[in-house]
Amino acid sequence: MKMTYREAVRQAMHEALVADPRVFLMGEDVGKYGGSYACSLGFLEEFGPERIRDTPLSELGFVGAGIGAALGGLRPIVEVMTVNFSLLALDQIVNTAATLRHMSGGQFSVPLVVRMATGAGRQLAAQHSHSLENWYAHIPGIKVLAPATVADARGMLAPALADPDPVIIFEHAQLYNLEGEPAEDGHCDIATAALHREGADVSLVTYGGSLPKTLAAAGQLAAEGIAAEVIDLRVLRPLDMATIFHSVRKTHKAVVVDEGWKSGSLAAEVLARLAEECFYELDAPPARVCSAEVPIPYARHLEEAALPQPARIVAAVRRMLGK
């Protein structure tokens, strides 16, 4: 049944709230407002204020409280409005959630799920548009997911909640209106990358909000007789490199599309691992299509120019193939 990404997120949370009384949703405007992206519309009425918990503007406080609640036996879903705001809670996520299991010698796990919106494309300028997924993907002790499809938006939450360790889910804000089909049983894994399109000429590796753009570029390339394989990372930590290596061993060429900035990016990580593990399979220097190294500007044309776009992906592939 076709639905929007937003509806898929909503259904996934609804299912979790119904299935497990330990699950509750906490965050800014998740209750009365219905969620800043309307993912929890109607939940307050259905589940009540104890389980649909509006918080003050205290990212550090309520993300930390989510960690404590998880330690105390609950299964919190903590919603942070955007990744930019999550920096206010970075201490709790990095210093506490990610470390507790380790520094307690394995005595305490933190079964916490933090959801947040990420990414640009809505002219929200430099404090609401960034893609900092790789900051989190750098940290041992947490799992980082980037659902890029309706199926993943619908399916990733349940295994994330079942995971005994902290899981961060990044929902690209441009995807909420995307339409698609969830998996028949609504489920999916949170361990593997996904092959979205097969092709023998070049591997395009991407995640999150860049997946639709990459698929569009692959379509355009097909019209030019270039068969591009498209891989959606899905899980940003730990990376499923096996799927990428398998593809690159076939195509011998890789372009990584990443809305993060190139410097110190996830794209850099993927390329580094390709260089380490797949060097002799490479038939061309691997390439990256990333955001321009500038805080995301407000003006529409500048914002578009700053972000990876299908045309830039196509150009990178052509350049790589000498066409």
Partner: protein, 388 residues
């Protein structure tokens, strides 16, 4: 401050492995001094320096493999101290910015200067298929050799047996293959041959050698070398290099002598200024060259700068040799075996010792007409051996 860079010790050399430094910081060096031993794919070569000064810093360590053009050492010029030294801009290697890269609107990664672009996958596949990667044309961006290029090349020459262990012979074979392939790819050869009567030369040589100890006897090869060098004075278009789309005539005749090595392969080091040297001196130098070539201790200048090559396969018994020009040279002169043949002289049929003299020349530089006259000149010179 002078930078001493790894010289190219042959057209086919794009990197070398430093085996040994012969100098240390603080040493005074003079022009022509052997300063290092470098392993090219062909041999361990004594590398000479062409500047004078005091060694300041050695930039490369023994065992390192570096591209041609890499600074290996710095020297202080007379009057310079490390403090007041004029620093030349540090050029890593001979820049060969590709036109494509310069024209591209997006910045390209810095070119692997001095090194052909071969993708790792292409290199690996070529090894698996036994394809000599140096012979494969690149179709990728900036002429990079890609996997497809290798597979296409392999399809074209499936006969090539895969090679297992890479040893010196294989490396030399590879280098020769690269140079010869490049020659055949780039140089439009034309070939001429001329039977040259050798009665006078043989008789003169026998006389000249009479009374000499065996070790001091002259070989016909020396006579031929000298004759070639003298002919070049009249035909400068056979002597020099074709580079960057233009011919650069050489001022002197440094004649490369093709020397086959016992373990296989060949080198063609130069005897310098052949036209200016006596036959005796040439004989001494040739003997020395052959000995050192076979011992693997040639000097860099000998390998780097032959302006023409002479190959003599007479000893191997062939009558005629058509050679492949060694780029960037523009001509190769071949001598076969001296054979007694029926010969009409002054209307009478007799027997004449004949050597077939051949010329392979670069049509971009000279034409058959001039080539023919060159061979005629060579023939005439060999009729007056006493003047050589």
């Amino acid at each position: 401050m002078i930078e001493f860079k790894l010289p190219s010790l042959g057209a086919d050399m794009d990197e070398g492995k430093l085996l040994e430094w012969k100098i240390r910081p603080g040493d005074r060096v003079s022009k022509g001094q052997v300063v290092a031993v470098v392993d090219t794919s062909k041999a361990a070569v004594d590398v000479e320096i062409w500047s004078e000064g005091t060694v300041f810093e050695l930039l490369v360590e023994s065992g390192e493999t570096i591209p041609v053009g890499t600074p290996m050492a710095t020297l202080l010029e007379a009057g310079e101290t490390p403090q007041n030294a004029r620093h030349s801009p540090h050029t890593a290697a001979a820049p060969q910015a590709s036109v494509a890269a310069a024209a591209s609107s997006t910045p390209e990664p810095a070119a692997g200067v001095g090194r052909r672009r071969i993708s790792p996958a292409a290199r690996k596949r070529a090894e698996e298929l036994g394809v000599d990667i140096e012979t494969v044309d690149g179709s990728g961006p900036d002429g990079a050799v890609t996997l497809a290029d290798v597979e296409q090349a392999a399809g074209a020459s499936r006969a090539a047996a895969p090679q297992a262990a890479i040893d010196r012979q294989a490396e030399m074979r590879r280098a020769i293959a690269a140079a010869m392939s490049r020659s055949k790819r780039e140089i439009p050869h034309y070939y001429l041959a001329e039977p040259v009567p050798m009665r006078r030369a043989t008789a003169w040589l026998a006389q000249a050698n009479a009374g000499r100890p065996i070790a001091a006897r002259l070989l016909m090869a020396v006579v031929q070398l000298k004759a070639v060098a003298l002919a070049l004075k009249t035909f400068p278009e056979m002597n020099g290099f074709f580079r960057d789309g233009a011919f650069q005539p050489a001022a002197a005749a440094h004649v490369g002598v093709a020397i086959s090595l016992r373990q296989g392969g060949l080198v063609a080091p130069a005897i310098h200024d052949v036209g200016e040297k006596s036959l005796e001196q040439l004989m001494t130098e040739l003997a020395d060259l052959v000995k050192r070539a076979r011992a693997g201790t040639l000097r860099s200048s000998e390998l780097a700068d032959p302006t023409i090559t002479v190959t003599n396969l007479g000893e191997q018994g062939v009558a005629t040799v058509y050679g492949v020009i060694y780029p960037p040279q523009v001509a190769l002169v071949g001598f076969g075996r001296i054979i007694d043949q029926p010969w009409v002289e002054d209307g009478a049929l007799g027997v004449m010792p004949i050597v077939t003299t051949s010329l392979a020349a670069d049509h971009r530089v000279s034409d058959g007409h001039r080539g023919a006259r060159f061979l005629a000149e060579l023939r005439e010179l060999l009729q007056q051996p006493e003047k050589l």
